[in-house]
Symmetry: D3
Subunit: 159 residues, 6 copies
């Protein structure tokens, strides 16, 4: 099963040995969307002017979710994350909420999964807080935008 | 902010009081996709014939993820889940992996978030195990298919 | 060691058997304070008018902390919490932040520890977010205000 | 909101980027109290002579609590703690239990929150184990005594 | 794969649906041993007379471990445990430490795994605390002694 | 209590200060067994040919369990694990399942407990998945095979 590094020679899942890798600065940026009806989005953006704020609760959930990545993803290495930031913005054109997460560490393996997990948890939290109004929201286009550091070097998503 | 039950009268986020709700049987079904290149999908489906198996690792991650829902989603109630099942199938037409999760409980609040979280964690795990081969995979169309039980009754996604 | 129910006849710590207790509705309310300088409090209250908000982050931390009570307190029973609400208010007279948490469940044991844990975690989070400005803040007067339900009945703190 | 480092330029909460900070040895010491009636304190200190021991259970809870800091405090960085020690002593003059925690790490950010969390969890555990006898106990004077290491240097509490 | 209830008709692992099962009182008792040299055992039993106590730390670890069972065992149902008690005794004849755990719940599935997990975690903790003195200790004979409640009825281990 | 490093001079449990230790590469290997009837073992090994697979679920549980070591074992240091691999094999001669775990880190303290915890959790998971067929299975001979790195140097189990 060449290429799938999470399996050993016998095809058994394992946590890849990164002990020989250099400790380097690593960065990953991911994004995702919660698509919803325009009226639902209005409800959220109006809320931002008040004290209760769907976006700030979801941002915090994403930050805390990033710290749980190694608990959630079976073969992920635990990592001392040095930065997590999330940006949630309303986009009337989709319409929906766009989530972007950037995560940094200085370690032997990358933080792509931490950035993607932060995005996913923030999207799920948006869903949770708004589902009483619209159950048909869709989480979509969750993907890695950028990865830097480590032997495999820089990756940037097309378009 | 009418309709957004996770905020109190002052607009503060809180965990909704469900103590007055009846304990009823509740079911939720959610789905989602990891879209990838056809060659990547082939790598996964070949693996199924061997011992190492991307889909079975991801299925397990989804089951365990469902049990972590109340830890991940800030305003979610902890619930004694009575069933979690995930189905992961390769779909050459997208191409990609489709994930479906169904969750049951007997409680005072629904399990939509548990089903969606199971799907999201399984999708993230597929990504993690295959990312060495393709970083451009996209998690998409994560949505609730069905919800049953509780006062608000049955919900079925259109189409 | 009469009275200390968390020890058995031999003086060994154990998780008390509550299996014979009735399932009743239970409520607990606790409070606590973070005392700080007036200038520090001003910094927080000014922040409330903007998007970043010490109090809303701390409120959320308290809610999530309540769900972790049985993980933190060794002999505490895990409980399906049905409600958590926190109220954080600035009190210029102390000066400081007052935290009040109320927690409900329907179960065989009370939620005093959940309410107190919610208060403690919210206070610690206030400290964390403001410590760059003042390290000398003090968490104080964390106590149970009210407890209701269960065989031991109602308790209300004096004054 | 100058000074509040947990918010970015737009006032959004984030986990501060510490990736540029030097890895240095860091130490923090915190203290706190559980104030109670003299008779309740007697019950605890008598217990120390027997096998069941409120103080040793609470000490252990504090040590384990320190390891959960980054899970509890939303914007706290996960850290590889290298030492945790708690000292719990009965003080008949207050009367009550005094808790002191000292925590060390070698990292890019300090361990003040770990020390304070250890104290808070130990105090909550004392409360839990003794609450059947006295519900009116108060957790108080939880504060940082000492912090050393890192760019901001040494801090010592007054008095 | 008849008999292995954790697999569905297609051989996929899932969390068994217990939603149709009756809520009954359930009890499980398990035991296990840490075998060690007589001199090592002496060191532990001498310690019991002092304040530091290998057995009481391990007992507490077992109690807290029982509460983590559903997080550790992938297909285990989360359960509101109503009682956990551990008994650790020195047995000079083996020589070693015997651990016995009993766990109760009122639920739709049994607590065998909780009792076994409590025993395993307590044994691991004994090992951890004494390993500086003897690395050759062996955890052995971890087994279910008794199970009661539920449709499958009572089970008692032979001899 | 000479030799028991987890206690300080007063006999109080604490997490040993490793801040002065060198960061070195560390390896630990542990093993353990689940003894069962020959017919039960047959059921498991037949399953390996199908999609559902007791051994692969248990392997994954062991990997994830290794990451939870510092949460389970009270005085264990949190560690950034760099590798976890488990090998589960059927041994008709015992009869039973043999579990071997190897864990690596680059840190200030060893990974013996991580390797032993991985073995214990994998064994518990085997038990969980097969207990509907045989409740009398026994977890046995869980022990450290090898430890390398750190000041105390190499340890290899006899026989």
């Amino acid at each position: 099963m060449s290429g799938l590094t999470h399996f050993d020679g016998q095809g058994h899942a394992h946590m890849v040995d990164v002990s020989g890798k250099a400790v380097t600065d690593r960065l990953a940026v991911a994004e995702g969307w919660v698509r919803m009806r325009a009226e639902t989005l209005d409800l959220i953006t109006e809320g931002r002017a008040k004290k209760g704020d769907v976006l700030s609760v979801s941002r915090l959930a994403g930050i805390m979710g990033a710290k749980k990545t190694a608990e959630l993803i079976p073969l992920c290495h635990p990592l001392p994350i040095t930065k997590v930031a999330l940006d949630l913005t309303a986009d009337p054109s989709r319409p929906g909420i766009r989530v972007e997460a950037s995560v940094k560490t200085s370690g032997q393996t990358g933080v792509e999964m931490e950035a993607l997990t932060a995005v996913a948890v923030a999207c799920l939290t948006v869903y949770d807080m708004v589902k009483a109004v619209e159950k048909g929201m869709v989480i979509e286009d969750v993907r890695l935008l950028l990865k830097d550091g480590g032997k495999s070097g820089r990756y940037e998503a097309a378009g």
